[in-house]
C-alpha cells in the first residue's frame, strides 16, 4: 500500500542507496577474496538486477526507497441538478525510477459512478473507495478520476485523503453555487467561457486530515409541476363537465 512519503524539495534527492555509498560492506570484501574480482562484480550486478525487479513489482518495499510526492490535488466540483460531480486530478512527482505503485483512495461514503480518466490501471472497488495501480514514470504523472455525490440544496462534502498533499485547490462550477473550504483560503475566481468559477486552496494537507467543502445554492429539481399541472387540468375538466351536466338537467 502506497503511503506518500514526506514532502521533499525537488533538488533534494534523499538518502542514496546503500550500494552508492562510499562504505564498502564487509560481505563484499569477503566475496572478492573468495571468488575473485570479476566474479564478485558479476554476482553483485545479478543481485542488483533482482533487487531492481523486486522494487518494480513490490511497491511497499519500493516506496521505502523512492521519493514520491503529491504536489497538487485539483478538486473540481460541478453542480448538477440533485448531485455534484467531483473530478480530482493529482499531480504525482516521482524522483526515482519508473515503477508501479498500488494505491487505495478513499472516497466520500455516498460516491457513485466512479470513473477513471487517467493514470489508474486495473481499478477495483474497495470498502471505502477504490484501489488500483499507478504506473509512475520518472517526473510528473497525472492521475485523474471522478465520481458523483447526491446532494440537496446545500451540502458539506468531507474529503479525507489517504496521503499528504502539498497544495489542494478546489474549483466550483454552477450558477448560484457558492463554496467555501474550511480552513482554506479563497483565491481569485477564474472566468472560463464567461462563467465565473470560485477557487479555494488549502496547503499542507496531511494524510487523514479531513478537508470540508461547504456548498450552498446547489440546484435541486422540483418535481411538483407535472402533478400540479395535471391536477389543474383535472379541476378545469371536472368543472366543465359539471357545468355541462347541470345545464343539461336544467333544460325543459
Amino acid at each position: 500500500m502506497w503511503r506518500c512519503p514526506p514532502v521533499r524539495r525537488r533538488n533534494d534527492p534523499g538518502p542514496a542507496p546503500w550500494h552508492r555509498r562510499r562504505a564498502v560492506p564487509l560481505p563484499a570484501l569477503a566475496a572478492v577474496l573468495a571468488f575473485g574480482r570479476h566474479l564478485t562484480v558479476t554476482i553483485v550486478r545479478f543481485l542488483l538486477g533482482i533487487v531492481s525487479v523486486l522494487c518494480a513489482v513490490t511497491p511497499a518495499w519500493a516506496d521505502q526507497h523512492t521519493g514520491i510526492r503529491v504536489g497538487l490535488l485539483l478538486m473540481a466540483i460541478d453542480a448538477q441538478p440533485d448531485h455534484v460531480r467531483i473530478s480530482e486530478a493529482l499531480r504525482v512527482t516521482n524522483a526515482g525510477d519508473p515503477r508501479r505503485v498500488s494505491v487505495e483512495i478513499s472516497l466520500p461514503p455516498r460516491a457513485q459512478y466512479v470513473t477513471f480518466h487517467r493514470g489508474v490501471v486495473s481499478p477495483v472497488q474497495t470498502e471505502h473507495g477504490f484501489g488500483g495501480t499507478i504506473p509512475l514514470r520518472r517526473g510528473i504523472t497525472e492521475v485523474a478520476y471522478s465520481y458523483a455525490i447526491p446532494t440537496g440544496s446545500r451540502e458539506a462534502i468531507v474529503r479525507v485523503l489517504p496521503f499528504d498533499v502539498e497544495r489542494m485547490e478546489v474549483v466550483g462550477r454552477g450558477a448560484q453555487v457558492r463554496l467555501a473550504v474550511v480552513a482554506g483560503r479563497e483565491l481569485t475566481s477564474v472566468i472560463v467561457g464567461g462563467e465565473v468559477l470560485p477557487r479555494w486552496e488549502i496547503r499542507g494537507v496531511r494524510a487523514g486530515q479531513p478537508v470540508v467543502v461547504e456548498l450552498v445554492g446547489l440546484p435541486v429539481t422540483s418535481r411538483w409541476w407535472p402533478s400540479g399541472a395535471a391536477g389543474g387540468l383535472a379541476v378545469i375538466l371536472a368543472l366543465g363537465l359539471l357545468k355541462g351536466v347541470t345545464s343539461a338537467s336544467q333544460k325543459p
Partner: protein, 661 residues
Amino acid sequence: MADLGSFALLAGLVVCVYGVVAAVIGIRTRERRFVETSLRAVRAWAALMVLASGTLMFALVTRHFRLEFVAAVTSRDLPLVYTVAAFWGGHAGSLLLWALILGLYGIVILRGLRSSPQMYAPVALVLLVTAGFFTWLLAFTSNPFTVMQIPPPDGRGLNPLLKNPWMSIHPPTLYLGFVGMTVPFALAVAGVLTGLTAEWIKLARRWMMIAWIFLTLGLLFGAKWSYVVLGWGGYWAWDPVENAALMPWLTSTAFLHSIQVQERRGLLGAWNVSLMIISFVLAIFGTFLTRSGVMSSVHAFADSSIGVYFLIFLGLVLASSGWLLLARWDRFRQGGSLDALLSRESAFLLNNLVLVAAAFVIFTGTVFPIIAEAFTGDRINVGPPYFNQVMAPLVILLLVLMGTAPLLAWRKADAQSFGRAVSAPAAVAILAGLGFAALGVRSPGALAVLALGLFVAGAVAVELLHGVRILRTHGEPAAVAVGRLLLNNRRRYGGYVVHLGILLILTGVTMSSAYATQVQVTLRPGEQTSLGGYTLRYHDAQAWRLPGLQITSTTVSVSTGPRPLGLLRPQHVYHEVQDQATSEIALRSTWWNDLYLVLVGVSPDRRATFRIIVNPLVTWIWFGGGVILTGTLIALVPATRRRDVPEVRRDVAVPAGAKAQ
C-alpha cells in the same frame, strides 16, 4: 424532459377519466355534446401519448441517462437503429408503445365511424377505459420517466439478443396486433349496445383483419428472430410468450370465418361478439403473461404489483362484457338456424370449434405450470410434446375444412355436386400422398400435411376454374375472366391466397420438424465433415476485441459435391458489459433447405466445435408469411363497383362459384 413526459402521462390519465364520464353520460342521455366531448378526449389522450412517446424517444436518442429507463436500455455506443428499438426494449417503454398504438388506432377508428355515429360513444368508452388502465400503469407502476438522482456516465446498453433487425420490427408489429384487438372489442360492445348492423359487420371484419395480419406478421417476425438469433436451430418452442400471441391469433382467425356466416345468413351474432371479446381478453392476457413475471415464477408475480392490476383489469373486462352480452341477449335471438349439416356455414362453424379448441388446449398448457406451482409449489413444465400431440390432429382437421369449405354452397350443399367438386382435389391428394410415401416420406404427420395441402390447393384451383368457366359462358376470354374474377371477388380470392400462405407455412413447419438433421462435431483446421449433402471444411479461427466485445470467428467453406458454395463465418461473441455470450449463426438458405451453422466454441489449440443443422423447407415459412400478407391486402382493398359481372348466387346449391360479397 422527465417532467414533460410525466405530465403527459398524468394529463392523459385525467383526460381518460374525463372522457369516460362524458361517454357514459353521452350513452345514457344521448346528448351529442357529451359524445363529442368523449371523442375529443380520445384524440387529446392520443396526442398526449404521442407527446410522451416523442419525449421518451428524444431522451433515448440524446442519451438522457438521468432517466432510469434510458440508462437501462441504451449506451453511448448503441447504433441509432437499436436506440430507436430500445423504446420497446424494456418494460415501461413497451407499455408506452401499447398506449401510443392504441391512441393512433383510436384516432383512425373514430374517423371510420362517421357512417355509424351511434357507435361513437360506446367505442370511445371502451377505448378510454383501456387507455386509462394502461396510462395508470405507466404513471404509477412502470413510469418510463422515473428519474435517477445521479445519472450514470453511460447506460447499461440494450440486451445483446435484442440487437437484431428482426427484433426491431417484431415487438411493434406484434403490439399492432395485440392492441388492434381493442378496436374489434370496442366495436363488439358498441354492437351489443346499438345493434349488429351491416355496417357494424363490415367494420368489425375489417378491423379484426387489420389486427390479425399484424399479429400474423408479429408471430412470424418473432419466429425469424428466434431462428437467426437464439442459435438453437428452431423458430417455435411453444414458449408461453409465443403461445400468448398465438391464442388471440386463433380466436381472431375463427372470427374472420364466422363473421362471414353472420354477413351471409345473419347467424352466429352472439358467437362473433364473444370471439371479439375473447380475442381482446387473450391479447391482454398475453401482455399480462409477458409483463407480470408470472411465467418465471408465481412468486415473481406476487412480488410485482403490475400482474395483480392486469388480473383485476381482465376480471373487469370479462365480467362487464359478459354481463352486457347476457343483458342484451334478446338482440341475438332474431337469427335463424343452420339449414343443413352439409353447408358452408356448417363447415365454418366446425372450423370455429376447432380453432377455439386449439386456443383452449394452448391456454391450458400455458397456464398449467402456473396453477401447478401455485398449488403444489413445484414447477411442472408443459413442453413441446404436449402441444405437438394435441395440435397435430386439430391442424389436420383444419386442413380438411380448408379444402372442403370453399367447395360447399351456402345454406345447403348438394351432396352429389359436392362429391363431384371434391373428387379431383381428393384424387390429387391421394396420389400425392402415395407419391410422397414412395419418395421416402414416412412420417404420418408430414404425409398428411403434404397430401392435405395439395387437397386444399386443388380445391382453390377447382373453385377458380369453376368461376372462370361460368364467366366464359358469357363470352369472356379465359385470361380476362381470371383477372375479372380476382378483381371483383377480392375478399374471397384474397382469403384463398391467405390459405395458400398458411399451407406454405404448415408445410415448412412440418417438414423442418420431421426431417431436420443435426450433428455436433469438433474439427481441427483443415478437417471436414458432411451432412445432408453439404460438405463443410473448417479453415481457421480468429479472435479479436472491439469495445465491450470479445469476438471469436471461424471460417468454414461449404460445398455440395465438387461445387463450392462459398464461405460461412459463424461467430461467438462475448458482451463484456452485460456479461453475456451470444452465437452469431451462419446461415445458407435455399428453397429446399437451410444450412444452419453454430459455433459452439474454439479450444486453445484452435479446434472448433460446431453444431450443424440442415432444416428442410424453412424458407417456405417466411415466404408463406409474405403470401399471407399479399392475400390479406387483396382482401382488405375495398371492392370497386362491379360492371357487367354476372352474379352467381351462392345461396343455392351449386358446388362452387364465382360470386363473393
